[in-house]
């Protein structure tokens, strides 16, 4: 089975989600080719993409401000029309991954399956697994018809492992003329400053929700996260309310985290949130509503007021030095 992985990079290296997909893909190609597809220049990426199992890298070259969704999809379509058609294209469940697969699905007239956490290959049959209802239920769906099949996978669905492969060969896959669909342009890029460990890589995550009552109380979450050398996170409710930036959001539409310890403060445990954190090894929840769904998955649950428990906890940790 020939597989492509839509490879994304940040700060000049492939994202962890990209390496996870390459690792999974190389185990199921069964002797077929594993190719990475990069929207941009791949010169600096060929080494690490090869190390994780890709033998070839298609690269569009600089996108010149075009949005990746429409541009990369068109470049993929051109390669497929040129005769190199994969059986499966795996996408990270990311903004750009979703956009590229959406555009391509219409161009190829193929369905998309998103939010997957597993992939199974049985001969020519391909199926993927998706959690629904907050992760309580797992649905396995098989692709029907003919490929290329298009599937997006949540971060941390697979564990990235090096294959000690040689650098992949880079093949140009230029973006064809896009017409009206390609007229949007990125004119400026803004990066939000973050301190401490990254939310999706931190060993400890402390998240706050609506139970904090008001935006200024989020300081307690930041203090506690700092004391524990962890990262602060947030529920969608307080991100929507504008208390903290979107980059803090844990959940279905935010980051998926799997820390050693997750501390949920004033978070009731909406499906949307639980999907993003129930993979944590240990979960501590503080909430004043004892019926809150978060207690259903907590290893330690404190039914109490975050405005009382958090200051006491912070003080106790501070006094330990």
């Amino acid at each position: 089975m020939n597989i492509w992985v839509f490879a994304q990079a940040a700060d000049g290296t492939p994202t962890s989600a990209t390496l996870e997909l390459l690792t999974k893909a190389r185990g199921v190609t069964g002797g077929g080719a594993l190719t990475a597809f990069v929207g941009g220049d791949a010169t600096a990426l060929a080494g690490s993409l090869g190390e994780f199992g890709a033998t070839k890298v298609y690269a569009t070259g600089d996108l010149g401000g075009k949005l990746p969704g429409v541009a990369v999809a068109a470049a993929m379509k051109a390669v497929i029309d040129g005769g190199d058609s994969p059986d499966l294209i795996m996408f990270p469940q990311s903004y750009e991954g979703r956009d590229v697969m959406s555009r391509l699905s219409v161009q190829l007239d193929r369905t998309v399956l998103t939010n997957n956490v597993d992939l199974k290959v049985d001969g020519d049959a391909l199926s993927v697994t998706t959690p629904i209802f907050g992760g309580n239920t797992l649905v396995t769906t098989a692709f029907s018809g003919s490929g290329p099949f298009l599937a997006a996978f949540r971060p941390k669905s697979f564990v990235a492992e090096s294959a000690s492969g040689a650098a992949a060969s880079v093949v140009a896959a230029p973006v064809p003329e896009l017409g009206a669909t390609g007229t949007a342009r990125v004119t400026a890029v803004h990066t939000e400053e973050t301190h401490g460990p990254k939310l999706d890589e931190a060993a400890i995550v402390v998240s706050g929700g609506r139970g904090l009552g008001e935006a200024t109380k989020y300081e307690m979450i930041e203090s506690l996260a700092k004391l524990l050398k962890g990262a602060p996170g947030a529920s969608r409710a307080i991100v929507d309310a504008g208390w903290v930036p979107y980059s803090y959001q844990v959940g279905q539409t935010g980051k998926v985290v799997k820390p050693g310890v997750y501390i949920a403060c004033g978070i009731s445990g909406a499906t949307q949130h639980m999907v993003g954190m129930k993979g944590a090894k240990n979960i501590i929840a503080i909430n004043k509503d004892k019926e809150a769904p978060i207690f259903g998955i907590a290893d330690l649950g404190i039914v109490g007021d975050v405005h009382k428990v958090l200051p006491q906890l912070i003080e106790a940790l501070q006094s330990r030095g």
């Binding site: 940040a10 949005l67 969704g69 990311s94 903004y95 979703r98 956009d99 697969m101 959406s102 555009r103 699905s105 219409v106 369905t111 998103t114 939010n115 199926s127 629904i132 239920t137 797992l138 649905v139 396995t140 098989a142 029907s144 018809g145 009206a180 669909t181 007229t183 949007a184 990125v186 004119t187 890029v189 939000e192 400890i204 524990l228 969608r236 991100v239 309310a241 504008g242 979107y246 980059s247 539409t253 310890v261 129930k278 979960i283 503080i286 004892k290 207690f295 259903g296 907590a298 290893d299 330690l300 649950g301 404190i302 039914v303 109490g304 007021d305 428990v309 958090l310 906890l313 106790a316």
Partner: protein, 257 residues
């Protein structure tokens, strides 16, 4: 400026979801306006207001003729709506949904701007806005967290993994808006009364010439539904003033402090 907002009517997320025998989501009874779509409706109303003319129309797809969610958006201030309702739509995948919506939007005469949420709260495939743009041959900007219209062009702050990008895009275009982009208004009593008599045009998928739809058009088959491994129940205690000490002891036991 005319804006079409794609709205989804979903089972109330506050009630536990359930599956039909064919593994589609149970969508019987009253459906409500997806909370995520309130932002798009509000943004559309504000943009039309700012442009000094035009109207906001709705397009929605539902298998059972349900309009109560659409009425909520009409009560907020949208002028009219088109509902594609057809029992054959049961089991329709995201790609066919986008084709159906595209055909309906063309039948409605198109618009300067088409707005959708980034993903629905029930199915959350998250691909329909961009698929819709491709089906209509339009440019698109997904994950918009701030939108302004400058003549015949949009200026959008687009959410990214590390911050945001400023993007310009000529109209007509499709955008998907994140939650929190604007504060959706509550329908007024007057709005609710007026919504009752606002027109909703109901069409079927075959009226629009989109076939096949439903399971027949979906390039997928559900092969298994299983319960995920449940987490073992933990220790839940009422805070008696010493709850924090329990947390300290728990963290000590894990050797993280």
């Amino acid at each position: 400026m005319n804006v079409i907002v794609c709205v989804k009517q979903i089972p109330d997320p506050a009630t536990p979801g359930a599956l039909n025998a064919d593994n589609t989501l149970k969508r019987e009874g009253k459906l409500i306006l997806d909370e995520s779509d309130g932002y798009g409706v509000e943004m559309a109303l504000q943009l039309v207001d700012g442009a000094g003319g035009g109207e906001v129309s709705l397009v929605s797809m539902a298998p059972n003729g349900e309009v109560s969610g659409m009425r909520t958006a009409l009560a907020m201030g949208a002028a009219k709506g088109t509902l594609i309702s057809d029992p054959a739509l049961q089991g329709t995948d995201a790609l066919t949904t986008a084709k159906v919506l595209a055909a309906a939007i063309q039948k409605m005469g198109g618009a300067d701007l088409i707005i959708a949420a980034t993903e629905s709260s029930d199915g959350y495939t998250g691909t329909v806005p961009e698929q819709l743009a491709e089906a209509l041959g339009l440019p698109s900007v997904t994950f918009a967290k701030r939108v302004t219209v400058d003549g015949q062009s949009l200026k959008v702050d687009r959410q990214t993994e590390s911050g945001y990008d400023e993007v310009t895009c000529p109209l007509p275009a499709v955008i998907s808006v994140t939650a929190g982009v604007v504060e959706p208004r509550y329908p007024s009593f007057k709005g609710i009364m007026a919504a009752k008599s606002k027109p909703i045009d109901t069409v079927t998928a075959s009226d629009l010439g989109v076939t096949p739809v439903g399971w027949a058009g979906a390039g997928q088959t559900i092969v298994n539904v299983a319960q995920a491994e449940a987490r073992a129940a933990g220790e839940i205690i009422e805070d008696d003033g010493e709850g924090y000490a329990k947390i300290v002891a728990f963290l000590e036991n894990l050797k993280v402090i």
